[in-house]
């Protein structure tokens, strides 16, 4: 502790798990928005990642509430948020946005898109596997061209609803922080917008990386046209995201309100590594420079793949650092603006590093299972040729 903190402020309330939560929901929203590019805006180039994006979004969405649950003092009471929500609370409403997004958008869209495959697999599989697929059909075995056309149409409408829902999901997470007037580090109307664009950036980077990694694991060639298009979108959204964050920064510096000196000191001391070095230089300027190079110079495919991979990893590190700097940074200074505290993350504690790492690995394990049950690879699906024929 340094300077003066209100005595109850010394202890940090939101730790690494709460850093993880906006990071995970951001990946969900970003991956979904990428998927919707193909479906709604007919960007055919990104088609190879369409199903992978949806499954990635689902895997991360399933895990997203777990860090919150682990953090609560009384997790057994968490259902009260649904049963007796307090309408003026941003956090209470988030529960409904989450459920809406999970049940009304993502699950339905995935089911509609996979229905034909599920029915075929239900008919061709036996034993437990067959039972699983028969359950997944929900009793609907009609895959006539007319039925599939309806699926396609409904799926399109759901994606259309899904885009604002994805915006809502992550914009809302930004609002949870941005609406806290007691905390000048959080309280800005730009927060939901910054969260949204950083979410898109992180989700796109994740899907780009997952596509390359899964292709390498399956020993199939990467569709460079797809990769180049995703990288282009990553670059554009990143430019907007960076511009917004810089706008926030410049505004704060120029306005220099009562909190400025305190926050400025914090950024130059306690947040120097995580904000200036990791978030801005390593996690933003470096990937932006790499991506802009690929936009200006035509590199060979192998070099482009490497550049995209490095840029994606750096981007994910940068966005995680951004979440860290928002959540942890917002609690390191006193609301009296006269002092600073420190955050020491535990290891094998309920809110320590180990559960955080486990929660970061868990979505990948879920994604692995989802991919096994619902293979997203178009070229491997025995039904794809027919599907295209039907279209």
């Amino acid at each position: 502790m340094e300077g003066f903190m209100y005595p109850n402020e010394v202890e940090l309330q939101w730790g690494i798990l709460i850093v993880l939560y906006p990071f995970l929901t951001g990946l969900v929203a970003g991956a979904f928005i990428l998927a919707s590019l193909e479906r709604v805006f007919r960007v055919e180039e990104v088609k190879p990642t369409y199903r992978l994006s949806l499954l990635t979004a689902l895997a991360f969405l399933i895990v997203a509430p777990l860090p919150l649950q682990l953090h609560l003092g009384h997790p057994e009471r968490s259902l009260e948020m649904y049963l007796t929500p307090h309408r003026s609370s941003a956090m209470a409403m988030f529960g409904f946005v989450y459920l809406w997004y999970l049940m009304a958008v993502l699950v339905v869209e995935i089911w509609l898109d996979y229905r034909r495959d599920i029915v075929r697999l239900a008919e061709s599989s036996r034993g437990v596997k067959g039972l699983l697929y028969r359950a997944l059909t929900l009793g609907s075995y009609n895959i006539s061209p007319a039925a599939l056309r309806i699926d396609d149409r409904v799926g399109w409408i759901i994606t259309l609803i899904g885009i604002p829902s994805a915006f809502l999901l992550h914009g809302y997470v930004g609002f949870i922080f941005g609406s806290v007037k007691a905390n000048p580090w959080w309280s800005t109307p730009l927060m939901p917008v910054v969260f949204l664009f950083s979410a898109m950036v992180s989700g796109i980077a994740l899907v780009l990386l997952m596509y390359m990694v899964t292709s390498a694991m399956r020993r199939v060639a990467v569709d460079m046209r797809c990769l180049d298009t995703i990288a282009k979108y990553l670059f554009y959204t990143f430019v907007i995201d960076f511009a917004l964050e810089m706008l926030d920064l410049i505004h704060r510096i120029y306005e220099s309100d009562e909190s400025f000196r305190s926050l400025d000191f914090m950024v130059h001391t306690r947040l120097f590594y995580s904000q200036i070095l990791i978030q801005i230089f390593l996690g933003t300027l470096a990937p932006l420079a790499l991506l802009s190079l690929t936009q200006m110079i035509t590199f060979p495919a192998a070099a482009r793949r490497r550049i995209y991979a490095i840029a994606s990893v750096l981007t994910l590190v940068g966005i995680f650092a951004m979440r860290w700097n928002v959540v942890i940074g917002g609690q390191l200074f006193s609301k009296s603006f006269l002092g600073y505290t420190t955050y020491k993350v535990g290891f094998v504690t309920r809110e320590g590093l180990l559960p955080a790492v486990a929660l970061m690995i868990l979505p990948f394990a879920i994604l692995y299972v989802l991919i096994k049950i619902l293979p997203p690879w178009q070229e491997e699906s025995p039904f794809v040729a027919e599907a295209h024929g039907d279209d």
Binding site: P7, G73, T84, M91, A182
Partner: protein, 243 residues
């Protein structure tokens, strides 16, 4: 008034009814207390506070406040000359054990007792996802410990640092304005323990409460007025350096 045995026996059932009602969180049910007739706040006179820490100790004992956490605390300010934006502040152990000798050189020294502001538009109750933090009809902000999830959003939302996470209850916790006392006609533990009368419980709905005369004749301020929380903690002679 001296009561004889017969009168005490007659009063006992009434006292039992009152006590049961208070225990059942239903002060409205206790005789002689109508929530709609009160609107509680507090007057803190900075010119009278001597930084003895009696209020902090009384609060800790009365409310079983866990060690290292504070429902009320006292800050000591030192402002040298015109450096109003850079006060030196300390509050060792919340001021519970008093203060070590301060700076004798120029400038001014004074003490500022702090506690929940029982705001009318409280940011803490606004953000609570389940409404576990709520306003009583008599103007007190309370936490329902059987309902609080322990998400700590309210602690983040309080601009005054009045809330903490109770290490045993695993819920948010803060000053209750000694609700169990004031609904029985008593004052708060901190006010009762204050040797100089620097803290005065105020019933803003009671026209006979001395607070009204005091407000008319003194320069009174609330903490962080720009946040418009509707604080009901009124400070007399609050220096501009106080955060």
């Amino acid at each position: 008034m001296i009561l004889n045995r017969r009168q005490i026996l007659l009063l006992l059932p009434a006292a039992a009814v009152a006590w049961d009602s208070v225990l059942a969180d239903n002060p409205e049910g206790s005789p002689n207390y109508k929530m709609s007739e009160h609107w509680w706040g507090m007057l803190i006179d900075i010119t009278k506070c001597i930084g003895c820490g009696s209020c902090v100790r009384a609060c800790e004992m009365e409310n079983d406040v866990p060690e290292g956490y504070f429902r009320t605390w006292v800050e000591r300010y030192h402002v040298s000359d015109w450096h109003i934006e850079n006060p030196e502040v300390d509050s060792p152990n919340g001021g519970m054990d008093g203060f070590p000798p301060g700076k004798a050189e120029g400038g001014k020294n004074f003490f500022v007792p702090k506690m929940c502001n029982h705001c009318v538009d409280s940011p803490c109750s606004q953000v609570c996802p389940v409404g576990a933090t709520f306003h009583t009809p008599d103007g007190v902000v309370l936490v329902d410990y059987d309902y609080c999830l322990g998400c700590r959003y309210c602690i983040q939302a309080c601009p005054y640092g009045c809330r903490f996470f109770h290490p045993k209850k695993h819920t948010a916790d803060k000053c209750t304005l000694c609700y169990h006392r004031i609904t029985k006609g008593l004052t708060t533990a901190c006010c009762e323990a204050c040797p100089t009368g620097a803290r005065q419980l105020a019933d803003l709905k009671n026209p006979n409460d001395p607070i009204h005369a005091f407000l008319k004749t003194h320069s009174v301020q609330v903490l962080k007025p720009h946040l418009a929380t509707g604080s009901k903690l009124f400070y007399n002679s609050l220096d501009g350096s106080v955060r």
